[in-house]
Amino acid sequence: MTTHDMSTPTPLPARQTPPPKPDAIWLRAARHPLVWPLVTLALILAVNASLNPGLWHLQWRDGHLYGSLIDIVNRAAPLAVVALGLTLVIATRGIDISVGAVVAISGAVAALLIGNESAVVNGTFMHLSRTPLALVILGALAAGALCGAWNGLLIARAGLQPIIATLIMMLAGRGAAQLLTGGQILSIGYAPYFTIGSGFFLGLPVAALIALAVWGGMTLMLERSALGLFIRAIGINPRAARVAGVRARTITVCVYAFCGLCAGVAGVIVSSNVKSADGNNAGLLMELDAILAVTIGGTLLTGGRFSLAGTVIGALIIQTLTSTIYAIGVPPEINLVVKAVVVFAVMLLQSSEFRRQLRAIAFRGDPR
């Protein structure tokens, strides 16, 4: 028994934890949360390239870059924009399943604002716009932001659960988009509008540049302001955030409105790319892809932890996968099986728990 009389205890020697060994760079890099999404992207690209040698083939054609990679980036742009907006919503522990419908609404609004007028100018037949281009874009974006703000109000003010509030928007919003288009595909003829979705700037697709800008703007906003801190606090413990004086409701409404705005941007990109607005099908099931992109990027659906860069990589992964399926000639019947297998593989690869257990199994046979 260790009983020693000790009215004046002897001071213990200072705790001597050896200073942590500085890890090798690659070890530290391997712990970075973006590594696994990047590895996944590289793997899918490698599979694509091995079966489809044309993948890396980039050409300079008509004053811009041309090739599969450009297609992928271009196609991933609207998805990335939607997913970026959604990332913030998910970081507050919410969800928005109405983004697809909002994409359709904003496209329809743009098409309606442009209208279907044409005239012969200087001897050539031209489509005109009823409204100045800036107003067209503004209107479409405003429609998106409005839908998002409505979601936010239902959630933060009326206290509906996010999934229900946005489900309502998903149903009614799709209906509204169809109402706006009359259930038809409204074709858009006004050429300047096409720049957004299929134009090029400095040889790069404008849509991708827009996505880049949204990403950059958001990153800047989150770095330079306390928004990131507040959003994470709300996502982790809304009650505590409120007690600390964070305006949780206002921020929630703003975040949903911003998500709607992002969906609006995507709607403009999509409608401009396909030169038409389709109230029935535009953005259909986009919410699933967007949520998938967000999660693959390392954002937790339970709130609190998010990564914008991860989301962008997630969107690229999904689009690369889709393109790969098209490019290597997978029969359409098994598209979904391939997608499922890849998603399973991706999420296991990203699970640190899985990697740990894999290592444990690998080392068990190892006498070290």
Partner: protein, 329 residues
């Protein structure tokens, strides 16, 4: 010691009762507005036509109560119809073998997802999303076309009606669904498994520290959901008498909506299986009202569904005001 008896809070209508009242209000509205609406068969049809949804949503309730989600249910329903139809029609297996087989398959599929969620700490949303792709994809691997079922046992079950009163009747499927519902209510509130589900939803960490079998329960919950989806699939097969890869698209969303409209919190821990029945009836009733109206275009149909849902949820919130902080937190 604490001498002060804690004063109860103000009397509040429990959410389920509020939902029932709202449902009754809608029925009254329908009966006044539309001829033929107020009849026993219309209400029984609500059960007949939503039997599979009820079963699937009941399974989903358990998953959501633990704080998870299962997006694969719609696809599992489709896969079940497909496998049943293929085995019964093409392989001529006996339904007595096929039905238990697909039920076990569904449970196994769910358990696999649950195992992934539990063992590797994966997010339920993506695990079951991948499961959704997989099950739907497997349907097309079996056949991309639909397979009609002409097997006599299936057709007999599909077309048998259990007569009740005044000429109104229920289908076998709806009777099975009601039985499933009753069992589920018992499991949720009367068994240790059910209470563990609630405990995990309340706080998974606490449940672990309290020594509850968390891993087993989580796997069990997804297995249960998979089983319910397969059972829903069997009911769907009775209902449609066909197997088809495009069956039950979007059913997962209807199921989730029913559960959440029924008052269950998506964050887990709070809600009743009985609420889910209300949710299912609510969705069915909205659809019935719209068909009875019959004047809405496709888009107005959607807008009105959205508006009615909104009205329902807002009224439900209104009857529970004061609970707001708790629900939002």
């Amino acid at each position: 010691m604490s001498t002060m008896a804690l004063k109860g809070r103000a009397f509040r209508i429990p959410p389920v009762v509020a939902s029932v009242l709202l449902l009754l209000a809608m029925v009254t509205f329908g009966s006044v507005m539309y001829t033929g609406f107020f009849s026993a068969q219309v209400f029984l049809n609500l059960l007949i036509d939503n039997a599979f949804l009820l079963v699937v949503a009941v399974g989903m309730t358990f998953v959501i109560l633990t704080g998870g989600i299962d997006l694969s249910v719609g696809s599992v329903v489709a896969l079940t119809t497909m496998v049943s139809a293929a085995l019964v029609e093409h392989r001529h297996w006996s339904p007595g073998v096929v039905v238990p087989l697909v039920l076990a398959g569904g449970a196994l599929f769910g358990a696999f997802q649950g195992w992934l969620v539990e063992r590797f700490r994966l997010q339920p949303f993506i695990v079951t999303l991948a499961g959704m792709f997989l099950a739907r994809g497997l349907c097309y691997v079996i056949s991309i076309d639909s397979i009609s079922i002409t097997e006599p046992t299936f057709t007999a079950i599909a077309q048998t009606r259990v007569p009740l009163f005044a000429g109104a009747a229920l289908s076998i499927g709806s009777v099975i669904a009601l039985a499933t519902f009753a069992v589920a209510v018992f499991v949720a509130h009367g068994t240790a498994f059910g209470r563990n589900v609630y405990a995990i939803g309340g706080s998974e960490h606490s449940a672990l520290l309290m020594g509850l079998p968390v891993a087993r329960t989580i796997v069990g919950v997804y297995a249960l959901s998979g089983f319910c989806a397969a059972l829903g699939g069997v009911l769907f097969t009775f209902y449609m008498l066909s197997g088809y890869g495009l069956h039950a698209t979007g059913l997962e969303l209807d199921a989730i909506a029913s559960v959440v409209i029924g008052g269950t919190l998506l964050a887990g821990g709070v809600g009743l299986v009985a609420g889910t029945l209300c949710g299912v009836l609510m969705l069915g009733l909205i659809q019935t009202l719209i068909t009875f109206d019959g004047s809405l275009s496709a888009w107005w149909t959607r807008i009105v569904i959205g508006a009615l849902l909104l009205a329902f949820c807002l009224l439900q919130r209104l009857t529970q005001r004061g609970d707001g902080e708790a629900a939002a937190a």
